[in-house]
Symmetry: D2
Subunit: 408 residues, 4 copies
């Protein structure tokens, strides 16, 4: 890979300095598709609970690339051969793995677009960039799609112990101040090795892996699925749903050109032409916030109030339980709201709803984290533990929430 | 002061936890005027250089309030009497001291409004809140305006060693990763005392004060006045200037309602009616970014190109010198641009310009930082030092920059 | 409690500053019994693996006291009444809870003394100090002995979620650099409350508690029971056992006066007169290291070689398994050693031995960590979890090790 | 250089992980000469003021080696050719640069030995190791002695911006908790370059260099020359002086064999035979502390009391001024002591004395820190600054202290 004419370093509060490994990587970082990620928050509305959580997807992508550089260094020192071309492919694959994220991310996958995952869009971006950059991203794309012959490359980008997770857990823990959610990315990486083209962790790393799994579980329930953050996300989904509904009815809502396009059109994966991609590439958090700031004065009761709640952090009340809420309870709340504000059942349902949250700390079904025993045997970490705690964590946990207005 | 029914704590990556000291403070934090600060970046465009610098004015305000709580605790332990009313006044004054900041802050003081400082606007906000909250902010306002009889209260809010600086230096150092810019806020606060109603630092704190002054100087030249950040800020000022110019010519530019108001009207301090304030309260970083995102497609050569540079981080070239750049050099660059793009001199001047940056690490002229000697004497820290280094730093440093397009 | 004439603060890399809460606490810290703890390492021989682990028992005691101050503050803010006398009692109890630790700690409980726990000796120290300080430690002693009527006081000093553990896990994680072993002491403390005079954790703290338990488990297996540290400790036990054996045979070994006393006498709990206590108070890590440094030149094969191994970090080989090692294997190694060095079976056994390590991450049997549900119910955290992971961790884990010389 | 069969990593709380670069380096670390540094505290008696400051010379040596690895990496990336042999030489030179430190370091250079600097002893150790390791340390020794043709190699090991300082300032700041004394070693190293075989710092690093100089000044006055630490050190010098005096008079003081040798013999540089070196290699902090612990019961008034003060942290009173203390004042205090305890003038002088402390933050006279301007010119950083602050700091600062017993 071509090196940069000058050492380019980027300040990072977590790792100190991030060095850009090659000219091509530098050019990709400079590209407007990547620069857009400066305007997409990594943690969506979590800053409503954790005021420090304003870091961006761009920053996380750079961090994950840094860890990939460390991983390559470790594996090479253990005599795993990695060619220059493969190395660059790994850096590009991890750098761009999240480039398809839209504003406020996950919520958008089912509101701005119609069931299109951010991974699919990331792939579309990579293909477009591959054209612009003279097919230099081919290896990266193969790795990303898990079509590269050496399977551990894909595992480093996307797996239960990938550079993505190792960076975002550390980074989100750092920026939220939830210090107990930290993981020792450096130690975990130092324990990596490769056997039969698959990633393994050396046996003595078992407690670090356990800790990593538990830290991830904590981050989910304490941070990512914090009930206040969940309400905010749900409100946002409803804002966009309502906006689409009104648009469909012929109401012309103020919005940026790009956002307007997605309000007017139902875009599925098959609709993602180059033109649609170019429009998507203009969307970021600002479009959504700015739209809400104008919709807060709109005459529609539902749209106006949802926006007001989100912008001024005056959210719905939320309860969380381990069992589903009885339909009757929702119905009562709904009826109270209907009668109080003279709104329809459908309209009231925007403010009274239930849902579920789910997290599986560790999956024993696919792409398990495997330990390499000193005797050379390879075993799933959940089976290798001296206790059944990891196995206990492999069962999915589901919680149910119900939201309704504070004062009725 | 009325306490909260329940302990409210906020996670902060720097201090661990911030406790909300009273019900009134809690209500002010919840107010939409304050919540707006979630959408105003503390460091403007610095994230273009330091990708971690996305923390907000809301977060800084909470941090400064935390330090004020520590300062009150220290002073009380040293038998400086502070009543409950005064205490709450201090917390509110520091919490709201920056509430008047507009989007991208300092640059805006001379573009969105006409020479209205953010302090003036902060005061207008406080007065409005004082009305809503039944005159409970009176002491805070007196402290903020330096009209409260006990002068050290104002010094804690605004001075050369105030809680504002102690938080922003620490916070900006933390989020940028410029670790050497950190200050030991806790130690400096532990050294505070009061003599003749004025703030003093105990003698043994002298090296911490020196270090604080040097750290501030470093943060200015390495971070706040980093040439790339300065260009970005200058481009933004020009974007808004051009937008106002076009608006004045009758061109209707897409913009949020609030931003449009300020494009259409020249608002000086005397124009800041309640209505104007309410409009200002709707402005934040999103309005500006979103406007630029639509203006990037505008037909005006100047507006379009300035926006494009900022959004895609493809900025002007910048040179920095200790002496002003010769007018001739600017003229040559300007003419090249005119001829290349067939634009007027005035238009070219948007892309070719010079300016100066200035910073004074320490001022010996007013509100000096005073040391309390063991013998009871009080002396300016610059005079107390065993060397002339602080005095050397009291001279203002000026640097000159010149910007012009990269490729001509 | 009498306050200090001047604010006394101590620098701590973890908490920033530790404030000394009262005159009596200050005097106890200054006392030579407490100052001795500057010369007793908190983590024994762990520095052999983790070179940063040189912090002392004095430092940990101060840190635990700091956390107790935070806990008192939180509980008071939740309207748990705590009198000034009780408050000071808590600070003293936690400050002195480990004052009875001898050099290199746990190993010493069965070699320097005969089955006397450090807690017993701590109590003896407290009683002696109580006499010197005019019975002002009475409440502290009651709390320490769990004889104080309000049971949660003892739980704060000694329980499954006490200030001791909250400090040592955080501190040992900090100094070793095993960052994933950190616990969020501040958050856990913020979640504390009292019901029926017993400590409870508010429900939403459940994930922090889980993380705390797992972090502790990690610290045990990765740090405290790291096989290299365990070998070192076992060698030390054998050094002292051999020294006692030789002394009993009439060999006069060079040693400090205090250490010589314990080599010559078998001291059980009932032997702990004031005089013995005074002698014990002169023992610290230096006595042991210095003795070994002189014994390394002794003619006794066993003593000399054990000391040499420890001082020059040229330890025995160690293997760890989940099942006991077969006696035969030990026997073979032993015989090889006997024949090679012409030593007796008993002598060889000093270098060839096996043992077991045990840790229980959480006990469901006594003093469980109890959650306070929002509905007021109290439940063991292991039962409250949404998964069986804590319960899985309540089973004791045992591992077996076997040590023998590297080259034979 | 021969690589290790297995990746060896060492946990470091500051840098995360330190990797051992070669087999020879690994063997040197394992050598008993180097392992001895585990028992020599980096900061002497500073822990009396800063209880966290118990890190060792071994740990600092490893840290400095880590930074050297970073520096080599940066210089290589800037096309400065460094051969494998030179690289290993650099690592060994920095690893062993302080191996000659005796217990409690600087104080010992004029008490245990007679005006032999630790650098001289380091060199003696290196020469001895060079013999044992088959002349593989020759390059390292040339670098250490500044006899290697490429001068910047020596500057990296010993200069005003060497890896030694970059590690110890960062490390001592970390362990004391004096956070404002931190330096950004990584940034400074990233700015390094070489011109005409001399080290230079790229121009934009100027503020980091300034900050480094000021941080060092702060660490000297706030930490290394903290008056309480200075008293402790002075007491220790006097303990050993007195012990030598008594020994000379024929009093046989208990001490380790190694310490006894140095009490009985005046060892200058020319006396440092292989045998003396071997004896010196057995000395560490334990010998001194243990000796004091036995001397505290000695009948000599001076020795006993000096030891008592140090061990129980009940030190002399100390005053600090910018001018020398009048001889008369000392005389009066001395006489009071003589009459009170019936001791001779000479004996009293052990408890009543004055001295001076000196620090020069930056020297413009030799081995200046040079900036590399963008135009290729090289200039002393003190001349390059936009203010005279560095120049102001190049004047040596002297302070005077006077010590005497607390109660007389």
């Amino acid at each position: 890979m071509k090196t940069l004419p000058k050492l380019k370093i980027i300040n990072d509060p977590i790792y100190g300095f991030i060095t850009i490994p090659s000219l091509l990587v530098f050019q990709l970082i400079e590209h407007k598709y990547f620069q857009r990620l400066r305007r997409v928050s990594q943690m969506g509305f979590s800053y409503i609970v954790y005021p420090g959580a304003h870091h961006t997807r761009l920053h996380h992508a750079l961090g994950a690339m840094f860890l990939m550089q460390k991983a390559v260094q470790v594996l090479k020192s253990k005599k795993v051969p990695i060619s220059q071309k493969e190395e660059e492919g790994l850096y590009i694959a991890i750098l761009l793995h999240d480039i398809g994220h839209g504003p406020f991310s996950h919520a958008m996958e089912h509101s701005i677009v119609e069931n299109v995952s951010h991974e699919d869009i990331s792939l579309r971006f990579m293909e477009a960039l591959n054209q612009s950059f003279n097919q230099q991203l081919t290896v990266a794309i193969q790795i990303f799609k898990d079509e590269y012959p050496r399977k551990f490359f894909h595992q480093l980008v996307s797996g239960q112990l990938d550079m993505d997770r190792l960076d975002y857990l550390k980074r989100d823990s750092f920026y939220t101040g939830v210090s107990e959610g930290t993981v020792n990315s450096q130690r975990l990486i130092a324990m990596l090795n490769v056997r039969n083209d698959a990633l393994v962790v050396e046996e003595k790393g078992i407690y670090s892996v356990e800790n990593f799994i538990v830290a991830r579980r904590l981050m989910y329930w304490q941070v990512y699925l914090h009930k206040t953050g969940v309400v905010a996300e749900q409100l946002l989904v409803r804002v966009l749903k309502r906006a689409k509904q009104l648009t469909a009815k012929g109401v012309e809502l103020p919005a940026s050109k790009a956002l307007r396009f997605f309000l007017h059109n139902d875009i599925g994966l098959s609709d993602f032409s180059d033109e649609v991609l170019e429009t998507f590439a203009k969307l970021d958090d600002n479009d959504v916030i700015s739209a809400m700031k104008s919709w807060v004065d709109h005459e529609d009761f539902v749209l106006k109030n949802l926006c007001d709640m989100l912008l001024h952090r005056d959210l719905l009340k939320v309860k969380v339980k381990s069992k589903p809420f009885p339909v009757k309870k929702l119905k009562t709340k709904n009826e109270q709201l209907m009668s109080r504000y003279k709104i329809s059942e459908e309209e009231a349902a925007y403010f009274v709803f239930s849902g579920k949250m789910e997290n599986q700390a560790y999956s024993m079904e696919k792409d398990t984290i495997n330990l390499l025993r000193k005797n050379g045997k390879i075993v799933d970490v959940a089976k290798a533990s001296d206790q059944f705690n990891i196995e206990a964590l492999s069962k999915s946990v589901v919680k149910y929430y119900m939201c309704y207005p504070k004062k009725q």
